[in-house]
Symmetry: C3
Subunit: 513 residues, 3 copies
C-alpha cells in the first residue's frame, strides 16, 4: 500500500458480496494535480473503507483544503494569509494532510466517545478542542462567544426554561383543562437545542454488523446535532461545523450568508431574511458568482463588493493595498456594541458570555429590568461599546462615507430606543393583566409565557421588536414595517389592550385617548 506519496485516492475495497465481509482492501494512489498532500497511513486506512461506506463525506473532504495541504505548509504562509493560528502544532501532524484519523483520533483520553475502531482509538464527535490543535485563536475566541454558551444560557436560565416548556410541552385535555406535560428530551433536541446545541453524552456502546464484521460504536444522547453551543463528550462547547459545514470545513461556506440562515432566519432573529431584501443582500444575490470567497485575507471591493454576515462580523478584511480594514474575530460580539435581540429589551452586550447567572431587579434571569432599564453591572460599559462600534464602522467605511455611516447609525439607535419604548408599553399592559388576574405571571406561581395574553406579549418583544431592529440595522425595509415589523407591533399592542379591557363589561372594541 502506497502510504505516503502525494496523490489522490481512488477507491479499492472489494467486497465478498452484498453485506458480506471485505476480503481485502487496497489503495491505488495516483499522481495528482497541484494541491494534493500526503495522507497519513492511518487516514489512508480510514479512506480505504469509507470511500465505500460513506462516499459523500470522503468526496467532500477530498475537495477540502484539509486534504490538499499540510499544517507544515499552512504555517509557511505570511501572517495575514495564514489560516492556522497555533504556533505549536505537534510535529507528528505537520507532515500529512488533515485527514480522517488526524481529527477523529485526537485527544482520545478526553473523549468519552472514544471506541476501539480497527486498532485505532477513534471518537465520533470532533470538537472545537480538537480543532484548536491548529486553530487555537479561533477556538479560544469562539469559546468567549455568547454562541458557545448557547446551551447553558438557555437550559440553566429558569425563566427561559419556562418559555421552552410553554412551547415544547405536550398539552393534553384533562377534566376540561389543558395540562402541559414535561418536555421530552428528544423534543428539546428537535426544537430549541437544534440551534442552541444539545448535550451529547455517551450512554453505552452498541455493536453493529458492518462490512468489516461486528464493530462497537458509542451510543450518544443528543446526536446528531451541530448546534453552536453543543456540549461535547470531551467537555468542550460548540461545533466548528455549525458554520464550516461537514467535511469540507470550507471558509467559502462560512462566509456565505446561507450558512447563517440555519439559525438566524426565524421571526425571533430574522437576520438572514432582512439581509436578503437589503441592498447588501440584493447585490450578493446578483453578483456573488463573480466574487472570490476563498481568498485570505478577504479584499474589500476586489474579492466582494457587498458584505455578507461574515464580512461585517467575523472576517479579516483588507483593502487592495493590504491595509487591514478589520481583524478576524470568532468572538463575533467584538464588532457589536448592542444586543438587538431583546431580552426583553435591546441592551448593551453582556460582559460574560455565560449569561445564566444574570439577575435583574425583579430577580428574573434577564439582562434588563421590566421597565426597560439595563442590568448595568452585567453589561459592557459605554467605552467598550464605543470600541466595538468603531470596529464595526471600520467595515462600513470600506464602502460608505462617514456621513452615510453616521446617519445610518443615528437612525438605527433611534429605532432601538423606540422599539424598547413599545416593549415597555406592552409590558405595562401585561403587568396590569397579571394584577387583574387575567393571566397568571411571575407574581403568582404561573408560567409567564403560556397564556393567550402572555403569548401576545412575548411576540411583541421576541418577534416584532427584534424584526424592526434587524431591519433597521441592515435597511431591510419591509421587516421593519409590514412583515413582522411595526404593523404587527402596533396591532399586537392594540389587541393586548382590547383583551385587557374585555375584562371590564361594556368596553368597546378599542378605546382612544
Amino acid at each position: 500500500m502506497n502510504t505516503n506519496g502525494r496523490g489522490r485516492l481512488t477507491r479499492g475495497c472489494w467486497r465478498g458480496g452484498r453485506g458480506g465481509l471485505i476480503l481485502w482492501c487496497f489503495l491505488s494512489v495516483l499522481p495528482s494535480a497541484v494541491g494534493a498532500a500526503p495522507h497519513s497511513d492511518a487516514t489512508q486506512e480510514c479512506l480505504a473503507c469509507h470511500v465505500d461506506a460513506t462516499p459523500g463525506i470522503v468526496s467532500d473532504w477530498q475537495r477540502s483544503r484539509h486534504a490538499e495541504t499540510t499544517p507544515a505548509d499552512a504555517l509557511q504562509a505570511a501572517p495575514l494569509h495564514r489560516k492556522v493560528s497555533s504556533e505549536e502544532i505537534p510535529q507528528s501532524l505537520q507532515g500529512t494532510s488533515v485527514g480522517c484519523a488526524e481529527c477523529h483520533t485526537l485527544n482520545p483520553q478526553d473523549h468519552k466517545d472514544t471506541v476501539e475502531h480497527n486498532g485505532y482509538s477513534m471518537h465520533v464527535v470532533v470538537t472545537p478542542r480538537d480543532c484548536r490543535t491548529c486553530h487555537r485563536q479561533e477556538a479560544d475566541q469562539y469559546g468567549e462567544n455568547i454562541m458557545a454558551h448557547a446551551y447553558g444560557n438557555l437550559v440553566n436560565n429558569s425563566l427561559y426554561v419556562q418559555l421552552t416548556e410553554s412551547i415544547n410541552g405536550i398539552q393534553v385535555l384533562e377534566s376540561g383543562r389543558l395540562k402541559t406535560a414535561e418536555v421530552h428530551p428528544q423534543t428539546n433536541d428537535d426544537a430549541c437545542l437544534s440551534c442552541h446545541g444539545t448535550r451529547v453524552e455517551v450512554q453505552g456502546t452498541v455493536s453493529r454488523e458492518t462490512d468489516l464484521g461486528e464493530m462497537d460504536f458509542p451510543v450518544l444522547t443528543g446526536w446528531p446535532n451541530v448546534g453552536v453551543g453543543r456540549l461535547n463528550p470531551d467537555g468542550s462547547k460548540g461545533s466548528c461545523s455549525s458554520c464550516h459545514a461537514r467535511h469540507a470545513f470550507s471558509i467559502e461556506v462560512a462566509r456565505k450568508p446561507d450558512t447563517c440562515s440555519q439559525c438566524h432566519k426565524g421571526p425571533d432573529v430574522p437576520a438572514y431574511k432582512v439581509y436578503q431584501v437589503s441592498k447588501h443582500g440584493n447585490i450578493y444575490a446578483s453578483q456573488k458568482d463573480k466574487w472570490n470567497f476563498r481568498n485570505v485575507p478577504w479584499v474589500v471591493g476586489k474579492d466582494f463588493n457587498a458584505p455578507t454576515c461574515a464580512a461585517c462580523h467575523v472576517s479579516l478584511l483588507v483593502d487592495e493595498g493590504g491595509n487591514v480594514v478589520a481583524q478576524r474575530t470568532h468572538r463575533m460580539n467584538d464588532r457589536l456594541p448592542w444586543r438587538i435581540f431583546g431580552l426583553i429589551y435591546s441592551h448593551a452586550h453582556p460582559k460574560n458570555p455565560d449569561t445564566s447567572s444574570i439577575r435583574n431587579a425583579q430577580g428574573l434571569a434577564l439582562p434588563t429590568n421590566l421597565d426597560g432599564s439595563p442590568v448595568k453591572e452585567a453589561l459592557i460599559d459605554g467605552e467598550e461599546q464605543e470600541r466595538r462600534r468603531a470596529n464595526l464602522h471600520a467595515v462600513c467605511l470600506g464602502c460608505h462615507s462617514t456621513s452615510w455611516v453616521e446617519g445610518h447609525w443615528d437612525r438605527f439607535q433611534k429605532t432601538l430606543e423606540e422599539t424598547n419604548r413599545m416593549t415597555r408599553t406592552a409590558t405595562e399592559i401585561m403587568g396590569r393583566a397579571w394584577e387583574r388576574g387575567i393571566a397568571r405571571g411571575p407574581g403568582s406561581d404561573g408560567n409567564p409565557f403560556d397564556e393567550p395574553m402572555e403569548k401576545l406579549w412575548v411576540e411583541q418583544w421576541l418577534f416584532f421588536a427584534n424584526s424592526i431592529r434587524f431591519s433597521s440595522a441592515m435597511m431591510g425595509s419591509d421587516y421593519g414595517v409590514f412583515d413582522n415589523g411595526r404593523w404587527y407591533q402596533s396591532k399586537g399592542l392594540r389587541e393586548m389592550m382590547r383583551r385587557l379591557e374585555m375584562g371590564r363589561p361594556g368596553a368597546r372594541d378599542d378605546e382612544k385617548p
Copy 2:
C-alpha cells in the same frame, strides 16, 4: 429545404408586413457543434415559423437534450446511464431529434385537443402518455404516485371540497349574515388546482388570425396549467413539465429544489423553506455552482455533496465506484414510510394513490380517525414501511454514519408522535365546541372548516403540525419552533381553549390545571 442534416436551425421566416401573411419560409441549417441531432421534416416546418412566433420556447428546446440527441442514440447508453426506459420506441421516431412534431403529433386519436395545423394533426397539451413513448417506466411509476391523483384526491373527496369551498368561495353580506357563494371554476383553477392540476377539457374551437392566415385552435378549460395531477384531454393524468419545466425538459431543473418550491413552500407543506435553512440547503446554496446536475447516474459526493429534494426522493444515485446507492423512482413514496402531511394526523402512506374512497370510523374521507388512530386497511403495513425506510436511509448513509441516521430517525418519529398528540388535543377541544354549539361541524350539517374556531383548528394540523414535522425531517430548526412551529401550535391551542371557555360567563383569559 435541408431536412435531414445534422445542424442548427436559424430563423428564416419572411413576413409580408405587420400581421400579414408569410410569403414564404426557408430554413438555413448550419453545420453545428457536437451534440446536434437531425430534426425531422415536420419539426423543421414547425420551427420555421415558431422561431418567430414563439422564440422563447424554440430557444429553450434548442438547448435541450431532446434537440441534441435521438432516441436511437439514447438507447445505446449503458443501463445505468440510460435516460429512456422504453424498449420499443417506434422506429419512425428513433432517427431524429425529439422535436415539436414528435411530441405534439403523438397519439392524435387519443387527444381531444387535436386540431389540423398546417397539414398536421397537432395537439396542444403534451401529456405523460405521450412522454411514455420513450419514458415508459417513469410515466408508469408516476401514475402510481399520489401526486398523479392530486386532482381527484381533492375534488372527489367531499370533505376536502368543503375545505376548498370555505377558502375559495366568495362571501357576501346578506341580511346581516355572511353567505358563501359557490366557487367559480376559474377560482379553483387559480387556487388549489394550480398545484393539484386542473381538468383540461376541449370546449370547442376558436379561429385566430395568424401570420400564416386564419387557423383553428382548441378552446380549453383549465388552461394553462402544469399541476401534478392535471386531467388531460387524452384521459391521462399529470404533467411531466411540472418538474421538467417548459421546453428544456431538463433533468437539471428537476433536480434543483427551486422546482419543488412551486408547490411545496406554503405553510401547509413548507418542505422548500425548511430545506433552505437546513444544513443540506445551506450547502446547496453555497456550493451548487460547483455541482454537476446533469450526470446520469448521479454520483454521491462527486456530482454533489449535499442532497436536493430529488436526491433523497427520486434520483438514481451511485457511489464513485458505480455501486447503486438508490434506484431511480418516479413513485416518490417508494422512499417514504410516513406521510407527514397530516390528514388530519400523520400516518403510514396510503396503499392506493387514489385516496378519495378512504373512509374513517366517523365516515369521513380521511386516512385517520378523529382520535388519531390510522385507518389501517387503507394504509401500508409495517413491513412495507420498513422497506421504504431502508430505501430512504440508503441515501442518508451515503454521507452519514448509522448512529447519525438512527439518532435522527428516532427523534423524527418522536416528533410525529408528539405532533399527533397535540392535534388530538386540538380536535378534542374542537369536538367540545361543536357539542356546545360554539360552531357547527360534521355532527350538524355545517361545514367543519369555515367558522373562526374551526379555522384555528385547521391551522393546528394543516400548518403547525406539518411545519414541525417537515422541520424535524430535515433539521430545519426554526420551522419547528418559532416560524409556524411549536410556538404557534401551543399558542393556537391556548386560543382555542380561551374561545371554548368564553362561552362560559366569567371565564378568565385562560385557566390553568
Copy 3:
C-alpha cells in the same frame, strides 16, 4: 501624474501614519485590458485618495461599464444596442470614462448639497437629474412613473398619513389608555420612507478630520436612503441607484429580481415571493447562471429563457432575428393595465403619477370608492388599458401561445373581480362596526386604521387581496391559497364578523346564513 492614458488605476496614496495626513499621492496607471477608458484628471484625483478611503466603491466602479467606456464610444452603438439616450451629451464629458467627478460635480448650482472639496464643487447625492445628462429618456420616463412620486403619494395623502401614524407612532399607556405619539422623522425614514424615499435636505455643514486634513461636508436629513421617490437636494425625485445599485450601476443587477425584492417582498406587495415560487422564478433560480444579463438588446430565448421582473416590465426585448418584442420603458406602468395593489380595491392605473390629489365620492384620497367602484376621472380608460395589455402580452407571447396567454389573463381578471368583491364585504362589515361604535372611523374623527377591528380590515385589502392578485398574475400558487392568500382572506373576514357580532350579547362564535 498620468492623467489621460487608457489604463487601470492602482492605489498609490501614502499616509504619514495612522490617522495622519497624506504626505503625497501618486497614481500608477498600468496598461490594461480591452474595455478601459481614459479617466479625467478630476476623477483620477478622486481615485487617488478614495482607493484608500472607500476602497469598496472604487473597486465597484472600476468593474462598471462607466469605468470601461466613454460617452463618445457609447454613442457609436447602433440604436437598439445603445445604452445612452441623450443626443446632446456635453462635449466635455464625452471623451473620458464616467467617473467620480463626472457625476459628483455635475450641475453644482442646482445642488444644495454642493460643498468645496479639494478644489471641486462636489455634491454627495447624485440624482436622476444628473444621470439624465446621458440617460435622458430613462430619467424622463422614470419621472412619469408612479414610483418617482412615491414620497409625495404617501406623505401628501392625509389618509395614508393616518395609516403611517397608526403603524409608526410610539404608543404609551397614559391614565389606562393608549396614546399614540407623533411619529419621529427618523422613524418614518427607517420605515415607510426606506422604500418610498426620504426628503434629503441640507441642514448645514459639518467639519471632519480626514487623512487630507479638516474638510467640510453637508449635513443631510433623511440620509442615507435609496428609495424610489427620494426628494433630492437638487429638487429632483427618485434615485437611479435604487435598482442600478451602488457604483456598479449595473444593468445586470437591475435585471435580476433580487433587486426588486428590496421593496416588493412584504405581505402588502409580495411580488418577489410569488415570483420565486412561480415557474418563471423556478427556471430563473435553476438556470440563471447560463444566462446573459448584460446584452442590450436582451434576446428572448437566447439570453434568458424565463422572464425576470425587468423582462416583463422594463427591458428592451428582441427575438433572435432582431425584431423588437417590447420597447424599453422606465415608465413601468406602460405595460400594466391594472393596478393590482388595492387602494383599497384593484383598479385601472391612475392617469397622473402624482396621486395625492385624487378624491373619491366619500372625499377620501383614494382611487376607488368604498363600494369598489373606481374614481373614473382619475384613472386610465379602457382604450389605454387595452394598449398596455397588448404591450405586456407581447412579452408573454415570446414564449407562450395565444390560448395560453388569454386563458391566463381571463383567469387573472376573474381574480381581480373576486378579490374586489371580498374587499367589499369586509368594508361593509367595517362600515357597520363604525356605525355601531365598535370602532371610530372616518365618520367620527377617528383614525380608520388603528383599532383592532380596523387592523383586521386593513389586512383584508392590503395583505390578502394583494397577495392573491400577485399570485394569480404570476401563477404563484400558494400565495393565492394558504400563504397570505384565500385562507387568510376567508379567516379574516369571519373574524371580523365574529367581532361585529360579539357586540350583541348571546351571539355564537359565528353564525351561518
